[in-house]
């Protein structure tokens, strides 16, 4: 099991049942923004189909949730494959949000460990992590959480062997080929290297999530604490 690389490439588009009221479509090919743009386009179109409650992008995959169990899931899956093969792409002119981060310190307890595991000095970890403009590929896991693409390969690390029972909301973490900021307190198996104050989710706001797929994030190092 190689946790350091981007996940395996599937050869063909495929779909599978997730219970009676959801189907997952998985795109073939590389894990990149071009493929993700096609997933966003599929989500927009599939969301308008009858009996579809929501079409939610994952990481180069799409979950379609239904109001009622499908009469014929094979038929529906076929339509998703057809939709993928049409090759429609969605180019989002999303918002770009700057998020101030305090790297290390109490809110980033694993920064030192990450430095040791990657063989980079702490300043380099911070510089490498805060350099890219990260596109939001998907929103999910918990409310307001953003799956970001574009983490520098030098920061790819396996998940922690013992997950933490709870990290506070606003924790900036990395694991595998991903990075993200938790929107609320919860368990985590990732390496927490910093903290942010942004409110990624507010149920009273419309829309409740700060960011949507296609938006971009830049992490702005406010402080680096040892």
């Amino acid at each position: 099991m190689n946790m350091h690389s981007v996940p395996a490439i599937t050869d063909l588009p495929r779909f599978s049942l997730l219970g009676m009221t959801a189907i997952i479509f998985e795109a073939p090919g590389a894990f990149d923004l071009d493929h993700q743009r096609r997933i966003w386009a599929m989500a927009d179109i599939a969301a308008t189909w009858p009996n579809v409650r929501e079409a939610v992008p994952g990481m180069t995959n799409l979950s379609v949730l239904f109001h009622r169990p499908l009469a014929d899931p094979q038929d529906f899956g076929g339509k998703l494959v057809e939709l993928w093969n049409r090759g429609v792409s969605k180019d989002v002119d999303g918002r770009n949000i700057d998020i101030p981060i305090i790297y290390g310190g109490e809110g980033g307890p694993h920064l030192q460990e990450v430095s040791e595991m990657t063989g980079l000095c702490v300043d380099d970890v911070v510089a490498i992590h805060s350099a890219p403009t990260y596109p939001v590929y998907a929103v999910g896991s918990h409310a307001g959480y953003c799956y970001l693409g574009g983490l520098d390969q030098r920061l790819f690390l396996p998940r922690r062997s013992v997950p933490l029972l709870s990290i506070p909301g606003g924790s900036l973490s990395i694991a595998g080929h991903q990075t993200g900021v938790s929107a609320s307190a919860g368990p985590s198996g990732w390496h927490t290297i910093g903290s942010a104050k942004a409110a990624f989710f507010d149920p009273q706001r419309d829309p409740p999530s700060l960011l949507a797929p296609g938006d971009t994030i830049r992490f702005h190092p406010e402080k680096v604490l040892m």
């Binding site: 599978s16 219970g19 979950s63 999910g140 409310a143």
Partner: protein, 321 residues
């Protein structure tokens, strides 16, 4: 009504919060949707009326108005003032009377339904408590002693002595949950597939509204490779690296990355909801038509109770007037 005593984890739940998966908002909602449906059917409520879900006892409350209520789900010692109540039962209460739920005889989650459902604000289309994000339900949290709650309705005219529902099905032996194979099913070894269907899986104490961790033989894959994060729904059976399965449930994350062995079909979620730690669960493979038939059977059972309860309430109102 006022909560006189509560253990942690009692929450307000309706059918769940749908339509916000794209914001990462999980379903939440009653773990035992059947118990919620029975309570709401006996009271003639909207199917989505909110109830209190109580996973640990004792729980005690005092009513401050005349009201019709229903107790469903786990069969527990329920005392209305001093009088014992049957399970799955709707009754009329008067201001000042108390309800005490104590020792559980069978199952592990009890529900208190009220006419009209509990009057808590609807947030993002639901009254369910979203525990992680601390919104919905009553102030976005578990209920505690001293909380005051109100029903949206009062009385629907129950027969004297109350109104109950016949159980869906009386079963003995291990809890059975029917499963549709999921995306990575074929990537598990033949031996793991076999042992999955033949093992009495133990529900471990690390089990809650998020999910149940099961204990049994390790399940291994022919080719372990990392998955891209994808949608997860309540009922999804994931197998992390360690090989011990987890059933994701009402408060599950909306996305995950562990391989998916299968999904417990929706009409069997209530069986899981009532399986306390230590219970044995046996999984039974079904195909899609069998899953549809199971859903139809459960839907018909609830529709029958709803129709018959309506007749009983109309008859009761007729006698009283």
């Amino acid at each position: 009504m006022e909560i006189l005593s509560s253990t942690p984890l009692a929450t307000i739940q309706d059918l769940g919060r749908f339509d916000h998966y794209h914001d990462g908002v999980g379903r939440s909602g009653a773990m035992d949707g059947l118990a919620l449906a029975i309570g709401n059917a006996l009271l003639g409520n909207d199917t989505n009326a909110a109830a209190i879900e109580i996973p640990l006892l004792p729980f005690k409350l005092r009513f401050d108005e005349d009201l019709d209520i229903a107790i469903t789900g786990a069969d527990c010692e329920a005392l209305f003032d001093d009088v014992p109540l049957p399970p799955d039962w709707a009754l009329s209460v008067k201001a000042g009377q108390t309800l005490t739920l104590s020792a559980i005889r069978e199952g592990c989650r009890a529900y208190i339904c009220v006419v009209g459902g509990f009057d808590v604000p609807e947030v993002l289309g639901s009254r369910s408590t979203q525990l992680r994000e601390t919104f919905g339900g009553h102030e976005g949290r578990m209920l505690k002693k001293g909380d005051r709650l109100k029903a949206l309705g009062t009385s629907v005219g129950l027969p004297p002595g109350g109104l109950g529902a016949t159980p869906f099905r009386q079963e003995t032996g291990p809890v059975t949950a029917r499963v549709l194979p999921a995306a990575e099913y074929d990537r598990f070894t033949a031996e793991s597939q076999r042992s999955f269907w033949t093992t009495d899986w133990q529900v471990t104490p690390q089990s809650n509204r998020n999910g149940y961790r099961l204990s049994g033989p390790n399940l291994t894959m022919k080719d372990a490779s990392e998955l891209r994060s994808h949608g997860v729904v309540p009922g999804t059976i994931q197998v992390p690296m360690g090989g011990q399965p987890i059933i994701q449930l009402a408060d599950a994350a909306t996305m995950g990355g562990y391989p998916k062995f299968g999904t417990v079909i929706e009409p069997d979620h209530w069986r899981l909801a009532q399986a306390k730690p230590g219970t044995a669960i046996r999984f039974v493979e079904v195909d899609y038509p069998a899953a549809l038939a199971a859903q139809a059977e459960l839907d018909a059972y609830i529709a029958d109770i709803r129709a018959a309860a309506g007749r009983q309430r109309r008859a009761a109102s007729g006698w009283q007037s």
